[in-house]
Amino acid sequence: MSEAQHRRIGDTVLKVDNISLRFGGVRAITGVSFEIRQGEIFSIIGPNGAGKTSMLNVINGFYHPQEGTISYKGTVRRRMRPHEAAATGIARTFQNVALFRGMTTLDNIMTGRLLRMHGPAMRGAKRLGTLGVPFRPLAAAIDFVFDLAFWGPAQHEEIRHREVVERIIDFLEIQAIRKTPVGRLPYGLQKRVELGRALAMEPDLLLLDEPMAGMNVEEKEDMSRFVLDVNDEFGTTIALIEHDMGVVMDISDRVVVLDYGRKIADGKPDEVRRNPDVIKAYLGEAH
């Protein structure tokens, strides 16, 4: 690893400790532990059915593990709901693109800004911190009234966020499809829009579930470039699930390998690639 990469990788930001997840009789994850460090690109790989997406769902708060804990930014928890996860800075994309099909690209990415979209009254209340908590309902009401007119502060707010979203659109080079309803876009572009929506949340931890699935070589190169740029420019920690070994080995700082719900390897890409257990899991036993 180069000096530059060492510099940007910081302390542990997410620690997964002895997680076990069951659905009735099916054990999706058994006793998996690993750490993700601030600013690194971390890949979760493994054969199909290994529990990778379930792992992301656990981090995200969609599934609640029966055992084990997750500590994120120092706070230990086991149960969290997805919108709470989002509020603490975790954003995510899905294997089967989960975009809002009735809306345009622009609107979809704008929804990513919703957490940060407050009217001026609410922003003032938040600035007061805990002192301002009892004022928040009143602030929400005042903002609502401004919303009704879509004028003045409400409109300025809207425009401010629009500028942020336009920057993301520029970054991802999707200006031409700004006003297209996402249902009409090809799969590769939909994935890019979903990435844009996740980026609009200004996350600290970005979870990508097979971002390159179904893409050709050029599209994969584009997406890899985007992932690296996001990590570079914004310092976002990225955890991704991916099947394409070339991509994984190229862009990851560290890799964890799951098989049948258990961790079988953990470390730098080169080490993992040479690990005999990993080879066995992917290629089967040699007779």
Binding site: G25, N57, F62, F94, A98
Partner: protein
């Protein structure tokens, strides 16, 4: 305030327990109303199970079937020209929406022909003055009129419902194959309005009486007589069984049954329900001694015996229900545990269950005998309704589980696209299922219509059937029945006892929905439905 609380919480129970004969009648009335709801709900379940469509028009199909039946029985005057027009038009529509281009062309032509003929008839009727009508319109005015007896009208109506299913599939469903459920639901709302208007335009909208030859009168069952010794023996057995229920929890087999089933199968309401019935029985018995009023003391041996029988039969019912459900739960639980852990689950002694179950059944029988002898009133017509419903349910259950078509129906309900890809003809299945639902609607229509006459309000039954479905689960045939029973009995009890106690009437109007709401919040899939899992 205290008065109101007393009326709300205590008085209804007192009312129930101080006159168990009347309570029995109310419950039976509720059961029979519930059977009627269940029949309508059954139609819903069928269509939902097999095509994933929530058919809001089921209620109006009941009305339509009943209207057709009565219309045919009262006598139909079919004008030749009108007949030709209708046949042409309907055949035209069906062919028009077919798959072959040639068929489509012919269909269009036929439909146009039908419309033209109909227009001529209508125009002649409107424009030609009466005199000419009567005179020269021998052609246009002539027709046949016929009347069908019941045994002829029923098959004819079945044919009509099958034709309706065909038309619905051709004209509506085939265009909606991949639409979301919401859109399909709204389409059935549209169908409801259409069928209602259509039915009443064709058959007229005045109330009609439906006579199916079964007297709507009380049955005379007093001839059932049992010797005194037999009655005493039954009484003793029932007493023992009921006592046993109180201590059932201490029986190890029962406890281990609950343990095995815990987490794997949750028989809903067993505990509370059986406890309720058991306590009801006990309270029945004790009530006479403590309830205020002129009945502070038991008046005579006959009344004491009556109370005893009443209480014991409630106990018995509770016992039977508990045992049955526990046994079912245990069986399923053990099966799943065996799959999970291998066959290392401790063997259970089913003997206990059998013993308790038999004792409970005996207690119930005792109660029934007593009730009959005391002159409880059962309506013959309603008994017929219950019997018909039971037969239908059994036939349908067998149909779904055992036949090839039934399996295809279940496949289609699960996933349209997958069913198509294994070669199941989606559209054929839909026609079948809607036709079956139509026949069920006919059965419901006969019963409802026979009871209260065939009229517009019949279609409002659909709205009552919704809570039944919530309770029972959308995809469960037994669930529809049990849900219907619960709602039927609950409604009547609420109306008769709570209504008179607090002085509010017409609780019936919304009781079912309140119950459904409670279920929606805590168990949306109903008692027997499948749990809805959302995958991300």
């Amino acid at each position: 305030m205290l008065d109101f609380l007393y009326n709300l919480v205590v008085a209804p129970w007192v009312g129930m327990l101080t006159d168990p004969l009347f309570l029995g009648e109310v419950v039976i009335g509720g059961v029979l109303a519930g059977v009627m709801y269940a029949l309508v709900a059954l139609g819903f379940v069928l269509i939902y199970k097999a095509s994933g469509v929530f058919n809001f028009a089921q209620g109006v199909m009941v009305l339509f079937a009943a209207l057709s039946l009565v219309g045919l029985m009262e006598g139909v005057q079919v004008n030749y020209v009108a007949l030709v027009a209708i046949v042409l038009a309907v055949t035209g529509i069906v062919l028009w929406s077919g798959e072959m281009a040639l068929g489509r062309g012919i269909g269009r032509a036929l439909f146009a022909g039908g419309v033209a003929v109909g227009a001529v008839k209508l125009g002649a009727g409107v424009l030609l003055p009466r005199g000419i009508m009567l005179g020269a319109a021998g052609l246009i005015g002539a027709g046949i009129s016929f009347k069908l007896p019941l045994w002829g009208a029923v098959p004819a109506t079945i044919l009509i419902m099958v034709a309706l299913a065909f038309v619905i599939e051709r004209v509506i469903l085939r265009y909606m194959v991949n639409q979301e459920q919401i859109i399909l639901f709204m389409a059935t709302i549209g169908l409801t309005f259409f069928l209602e208007g259509f039915g009443e335009t064709v058959w007229g909208s005045n109330v009609k009486k439906l006579d199916i030859g079964i007297p709507d009168a009380r049955l005379d069952l007093s001839k059932l007589a049992l010797p005194g010794a037999a009655v005493a023996a039954i009484f003793a057995a029932a007493a023992l069984a009921s006592v046993a229920l109180m201590f059932a929890w201490r029986v190890r087999a029962v406890r281990s049954a609950i343990d095995t089933s815990k987490g794997l199968v949750q028989p809903p309401l067993i505990g509370p329900a059986s406890l309720f019935f058991g306590m009801a029985g006990l309270a029945c018995f004790l009530a006479r001694f403590f309830v205020a009023g002129d009945a502070a003391f038991v008046k005579g041996k006959a009344e004491a015996t009556a109370m005893l029988f009443a209480s014991l039969s409630w106990f018995g019912l509770a016992l039977v229900a508990t045992v049955a459900l526990l046994a079912l739960a245990t069986w399923r639980g053990r099966r799943e545990a065996a799959e999970d852990h291998g066959a290392d689950v401790a063997p259970l002694h089913y003997g206990w269950f059998v013993a308790l179950g038999v004792a409970g059944a005996v207690a119930v029988a005792a109660g029934i005998v007593w009730a009959v002898r005391s002159g409880i009133l059962i309506n013959g017509f309603e008994l017929f309704a219950a019997a018909m419903a039971a037969i239908l349910v059994i036939v349908l259950a067998v149909f779904f589980q055992k036949t090839r078509v039934g399996r295809a129906l279940r496949a289609v309900a699960d996933d349209h696209a997958a069913a198509l890809s294994v070669g199941i003809s989606l559209r054929g299945i839909w026609v079948i299922v809607w036709a079956v639902a139509g026949i069920v609607a006919l059965a419901a229509g006969i019963i409802w219509g026979g009871k209260s006459g065939v009229q517009f309000s019949l279609s409002l039954i659909a709205l009552k059937a919704l809570p039944v479905l919530i309770l029972g689960g959308f995809t469960s045939v037994p669930g529809a029945i049990i849900g219907g029973l619960i709602i039927g009995v609950g409604e009547k009890l609420a109306e008769v006892y709570w209504g008179t106690a607090i002085g509010i009437d017409a609780i019936e109007n919304w009781f079912a929905y309140a119950l459904a709401l409670v279920f929606l919040l805590f168990r949306p899939q109903g008692l027997f439905g499948e749990k809805i899992i959302e995958r991300v």
